[in-house]
Symmetry: D2
């Protein structure tokens, strides 16, 4: 399990959310409260949109809490749309290539969850990725494979539908392989304009996800950055929060999309 943060709104210094708040993401790397693992020290990553359509990315295998570069970068870079992620590995190596977020062209993705029995279905999952995208597979995680498979499933045209199709196909793979562990999928996705946040699990126990909408600033987090602040709402289980450019955030049910995809 991991912890993450997504921001969209008025450009802010990334440190305002990543390291400054009392329960910032960097603080959560050492002291998460709502996760099974309190320590998220198996690498981290930050991805931000600035002047190019593609995001910048800084990923590192060291823990976030002691990384001077992360501090400096977050103090310097202002962005109107960025992701940050601290990792607690679930069976794959601690390498930069296994750190979130993952980027492909303009798209950026990060995940907090796990494919149960991943080792059993990994090859079949990777077979869902077409050759042209497979070249982009730099690591060995389930998360990166889901992202690439969703790209192949039409992410660019229909993000929620594509993710639902991929999640549905992965569930089917797991069932066929006799995996009993759950598929847990709390995730965030963006193309640099629209932002999507998913909270779903095959056993109804997805990792936590909260959001705070201040009108000109939307913050999505695994855990509230400061419980003294008003306005933190839980993303309900089995829901997707969609924040299209220029529109207010809206919730939709993910189960329906998955049922449609599985049909």
């Amino acid at each position: 399990m991991c912890r993450f943060l997504a921001y969209r709104g008025e450009p802010v210094f990334m440190e305002d959310l990543v390291s400054a708040p009392c329960h910032s993401l960097v603080h959560q790397s050492l002291h998460a409260e709502e996760a099974k693992t309190g320590t998220n020290g198996d690498g981290f990553g930050i991805g931000w949109y600035a002047t190019r359509p593609e995001p910048g990315v800084y990923r590192e295998l060291r823990p976030a809490w002691s990384d001077e570069n992360l501090q400096s970068l977050c103090a310097q870079v202002r962005s109107g749309l960025f992701f940050a992620h601290v990792r607690a590995a679930t069976g794959t190596a601690t390498t930069r290539a296994n750190c979130h977020p993952f980027v492909q062209g303009r798209w950026m993705f990060m995940h907090n969850g796990q494919i149960g029995g991943y080792h059993t279905v990994r090859r079949k999952l990777e077979a869902m990725i077409p050759d042209a995208l497979y070249e982009a597979r730099g690591g060995t995680t389930d998360s990166e494979a889901i992202f690439l498979a969703a790209l192949a499933d039409g992410l660019e045209d229909d993000p929620v539908g594509a993710v639902a199709r991929t999640v549905s196909r992965v569930s089917a793979l797991m069932q066929a392989a006799g995996v009993r562990e759950a598929l847990r999928f709390t995730a965030a996705l963006t193309d640099g304009e629209d932002l999507y946040a998913f909270r779903w699990a095959s056993d109804g126990k997805p990792a936590t996800l909260y959001w705070r909408d201040l009108g000109d600033r939307l913050i999505i987090v695994s855990e509230p950055l400061d419980r003294a602040q008003p306005g933190w709402l839980e993303v309900p289980r089995s829901c997707v929060l969609t924040a299209r450019k220029g529109q207010a955030p809206a919730l939709q049910c993910m189960d329906e999309a998955i049922t449609r995809a599985a049909a």
Copy 2:
């Protein structure tokens, strides 16, 4: 604060103590129980004596819990005298050079504690190290500086006396600089034959230290590796455990040595 382990006795695979026990040192790197900080993820180190008078050392800035090299090394290397240490930094950078144990010739040292107000007294502390030894200063920690200062204070001829002298001089430096925080010194020291374990603090609150004597095997640890095992004894505060080659371990009072040194 940190966690450490020292072993002397029949050669054993290092993994038998470092990673295999239920509350092994690697486990303590993620879930320490008796330390102020539960996570000791700011690097680690292992030092062992094999066929040469000087120990081998493997130090790394990544957390111990995810390091494949540490696992492999501990599974392969058998040693009759070794140290292992997981670090929780107290103000200095996470680099290999700041990881314990520190080695100088045949001598090896590791520390769990802190010089209060270190930044205030650092230059004066370093001035206690003579030029010839200063070349060996590879990092920036208080721990390494204490070790080098103790070498200058006669460590090779009178280990306990030299450490007492250094601790006494550092205390005086702190006092002169108006430092109010404590000097905490829980540490282990060896020349490849004799083993010394110190538990002392200027405020009477040193970090925990335990030992277990099985006749042909002596284990010294920050926290018992398995509480179900019988025979873990606490090293009393202000004491030094001395285990000279071919002799039974013995406890002596460190305060007396310090008083003598200060006189």
Copy 3:
């Protein structure tokens, strides 16, 4: 392209070959002479057999020339059979998991070469690895994939035949995909007792390989460790050097094995 070294014989300190000679492997990491790339600074690895059937491994993504741990390890560990490898990446990331040697059970493998057009055939190559072995794929290199595919092709029973079969199948994959670049395969393989060194390329231009047989000590290297020493012989192109336990090293033609495999 990379540089490597394999040793079998009387147990020696690894530093005697890895770092001490004038043109040691560590020296070659900075100043290779017979490689297209003079710098082999994209990580390194060392694997050695000691008291267990499985080898110990230390792999690191930093350059070999500045790694203090490698120096210490090689100064301490004596082994009668070990591999060392310095890497110059050819398109895959600099991570520990992409560093050689690769280990699976008792088997250890390292490679100096390249599958031309790897990105084109990578998925098909990985499809040659059965599920049970695929779990062991920790990195993304062509080299690791060849090793796992060869294990599936019967490496444990017939090492040379299995490698020939895999090489033949990879060649066929490349041809089917219209790849024009060569398949270059200079490699070493062992199960902890017998040692095999391959020098083959589809275009007849394999990377260099030398050996020196001192009766009780066999050294196989990409480049001679000291040209002033007598007895360095080139492994002829398209040949395999086989050094079975208790037998003198023997050369055999690899083309024949490949032709048989392709038949």
Copy 4:
């Protein structure tokens, strides 16, 4: 010896100079042409001024040529004043804290050179740094010590004079210690507005330094980024290039400043 680059002028993407040119700094990390060491693989760093008075810094111990984060950062960040440095260590460890540039408040410094006999004079050199600045010493290099000593020597008020004083004092230390090796000081310094580039050595053999003035853009480099471009000029030996904000770059003799300082 190392290689570096400094830029001041119209904001540009850092990649335009750091990684894009045919003989970019990243290329020089692997294939320097005018340095004693062709490989500068012992870490690197980049520092840039953006919206704050203090620069951002990204330093890493891996070689620059394989660092994905550096590529991404340089593709995203536009700056009107930045430094980049690739390191070839001369006796101190490969750690982030030993990588250039060094930053103190608004000031940024990088160095290509060496204090001959550094180990002999290190303690005395460090004694030149007052307590208040000593806290900022994170590494162990001669370069960082010179920077901190120059700050103590009045860098903020009189940059060229302060550097001359420090260089003069270091020379005196070396002479007193009987060091025969040279003091070589090719360096760049800035406060975020004015830019200073030094080329001096006690034996008249300083490392190379070039500049190219395009009116609205000033580039200072160890080696020209593209020899096909017109306008690269050598900074003469024993000279300082000063580029004050809003003024044309000007050369002055450093020997005179040093003579004054030594008087």
